[in-house]
């Protein structure tokens, strides 16, 4: 089952709901090792993105992703605005003029998005960032897509791996972002960025399944 424009809209509707309903949770995770604003900023950004795409008329999946990206970059602030903005912007560019994207298109675009995040944030695996959820998610999705699985099945694999990656951030000592200033004291806390990545992917699947 590929994703069309309407489904892309649904996908971000669910993502927005998930981020809003986890606003306090994400902020709490961030106050343990950061500056207590991740949930607040992400909610603000996705609420604006949701308004934007609700009002927009689209013929291409990439158009929805592009508007989400632009809105996040212009309203989230912090590091997560440019980073998630880059993810969705690169994805939209890779989708090009496609009216529907299948699992192979999605994974290809996701890989481009992750490349953009790595170039901008310069984080490596195990730096205790969103990359720790994004990287295993991509690997799992790549494997599933090359087996010819459809988009929901591919996302499901990605989510499972993102969740494992997110949990693996707990013992890590942060090396990037504001948590890095804590040094050893950042160990024992789950990374808020990896958590929002897991939430976003999970909600995307929900939207896709509707």
């Amino acid at each position: 089952m590929p994703m069309n424009v309407e489904q892309a809209r649904k996908v971000f509707e669910r993502v927005t709901e998930a981020i809003i309903s986890h606003k306090e949770y994400l902020t709490e995770l961030d106050s343990a090792i950061g500056d207590a604003d991740h949930g607040i900023n992400m909610s603000r950004g996705f609420t604006k993105a949701q308004e934007k795409i609700k009002a927009g008329a689209y013929t291409e999946v990439g158009g929805v992703f592009k508007d989400v990206a632009m809105t996040l970059m212009g309203s989230v602030g912090g590091a997560s605005g440019p980073l998630y903005g880059t993810l969705f912007m690169r994805m939209s560019m890779k989708f090009g003029t496609k009216q529907e994207v299948d699992s192979a298109d999605f994974v290809e675009a996701f890989e481009e998005g992750l490349k953009g995040i790595l170039a901008l944030g310069k984080a490596q695996l195990e730096d205790k960032t969103m990359v720790d959820a994004l990287t295993p998610a991509l690997e799992a999705m790549k494997a599933a897509a090359s087996n010819g699985e459809d988009l929901p099945a591919v996302l499901e694999k990605g989510i499972a791996s993102a969740e494992e990656g997110m949990k693996r951030t707990i013992p890590l000592v942060a090396k990037k972002g504001r948590a890095s200033y804590l040094g050893e004291r950042s160990a024992g806390h789950q990374d808020p960025g990896a958590t929002s990545t897991f939430l976003i992917l999970s909600a995307m699947l929900e939207g896709l399944r509707e």
């Binding site: 500056d35 207590a36 603000r44 602030g77 890095s180």
Partner: protein
């Protein structure tokens, strides 16, 4: 958590409106994006622009005016501004001689300013950036996002603003900013946490008899937690770390800057300054210029920071150059 506000989402915009109303002779707000602009911009000089999360007032909006910043881009509380803010602000104040971004070293700030710089460069507007990273509390720069930009930012904005006002080129203005950053060191501490308004509760818990040494300006923890000590002992510990870091040596002339974090009364800041004077006297480091007050704050956090800047004749002259902004004024 009690806060003086109307709607929590409107804190930044309403505060900016108040800043403009209180200082309309010096600053004006950008008509469409969140940015504080110098009332008489653009000038035929290099435009100096800074920005960052709100909650550090008077930084940066309070430093917009003659001899300092041409524009300041405030983000939400403790959240970096977005690229469109810096882009629009730069277009509004630049007069053709280029734009210098003074960026505090935080992951988000650096990314957002970089994106704005790319956008401006794409339109042929010359842009340079200097990232301020003066916080000696961060020791393992290799394993972190690097040292944070803190108190030294205030001194950089003052000195760089003077250089730009004198008509220097973008390269010269940038070089002075880099010189300030290379010669300035800061360390902060906190007695209590701050509370981000939208979060509604303190960012961290600190027991009554403990303090956080090496705190950043967002309530993010620093080097270590310690039992409370006397002001003199705290100043000696912090100033000692600063002096050893650059290092500052006997005979050096410095700007000594004692900064309140927002919730510290002036009676304590002056007491701390007194301890700092004694400490530096003993080390034979000469305080040539000084600044005491709340200039880069962390909402209502109780605590302070010490910043030392090693001066040469150029930096001293630029420090003395007239400045007229809402929060800093002399010579004019």
């Amino acid at each position: 958590m009690k806060k003086l506000m109307n709607k929590v989402d409107d804190i930044v915009v309403e505060s900016l409106a108040g800043l403009e109303a209180a200082h309309c002779d010096l600053v004006k707000l950008h008509p469409s994006i969140k940015a504080v602009l110098r009332a008489d911009a653009p000038n035929c000089k290099v435009a100096v622009i800074s920005g960052g999360g709100s909650g550090h007032e008077p930084l940066h909006g309070g430093f917009v005016g003659f001899g300092m910043l041409d524009a300041a881009c405030p983000g939400e509380v403790f959240t970096s501004p977005t690229p469109d803010q810096m882009y629009e602000a730069a277009k509004a104040v630049q007069g053709g001689k280029g734009v210098l971004f003074i960026v505090k070293n935080y992951t988000g700030d650096v990314m957002n300013f970089q994106m704005a710089a790319d956008m401006l460069a794409g339109e042929g507007i010359p842009v340079a950036q200097v990232v301020i990273d003066d916080d000696v509390a961060v020791q393992d720069s290799l394993y972190t996002a690097g040292r944070r930009g803190v108190g030294g930012t205030v001194l950089a904005e003052k000195i760089v603003g003077a250089m730009a006002e004198l008509g220097a080129s973008l390269d010269e203005v940038k070089a002075v900013c880099e010189k300030v950053n290379a010669n300035v060191r800061t360390m902060g501490m906190a007695l209590t946490s701050c509370a981000v308004p939208a979060a509604g509760k303190p960012t961290f818990d600190l027991p009554e008899d403990e303090m956080e040494i090496g705190i950043g300006i967002h309530g993010e923890p620093g080097r270590k937690r310690m039992k409370m000590m006397s002001a003199k002992e705290i100043v000696e510990m912090m100033a000692g770390a600063i002096v050893n870091d650059l290092p500052f040596s006997e005979g050096d002339e410095v700007v000594a800057f004692v900064n309140g974090m927002g919730g510290t009364p002036l009676i304590e800041l002056y007491l701390l300054y007194n301890d700092l004077v004694k400490f530096l006297d003993a080390k034979k480091i000469r305080i040539a210029r000084k600044l005491v007050g709340n200039y880069i704050t962390s909402l209502e956090m109780q605590g302070f920071s010490i910043t030392l800047l090693k001066l040469d004749s150029q930096l001293k002259a630029l420090w003395d150059y007239p400045v007229h902004t809402p929060a800093l004024r002399w010579g004019k």
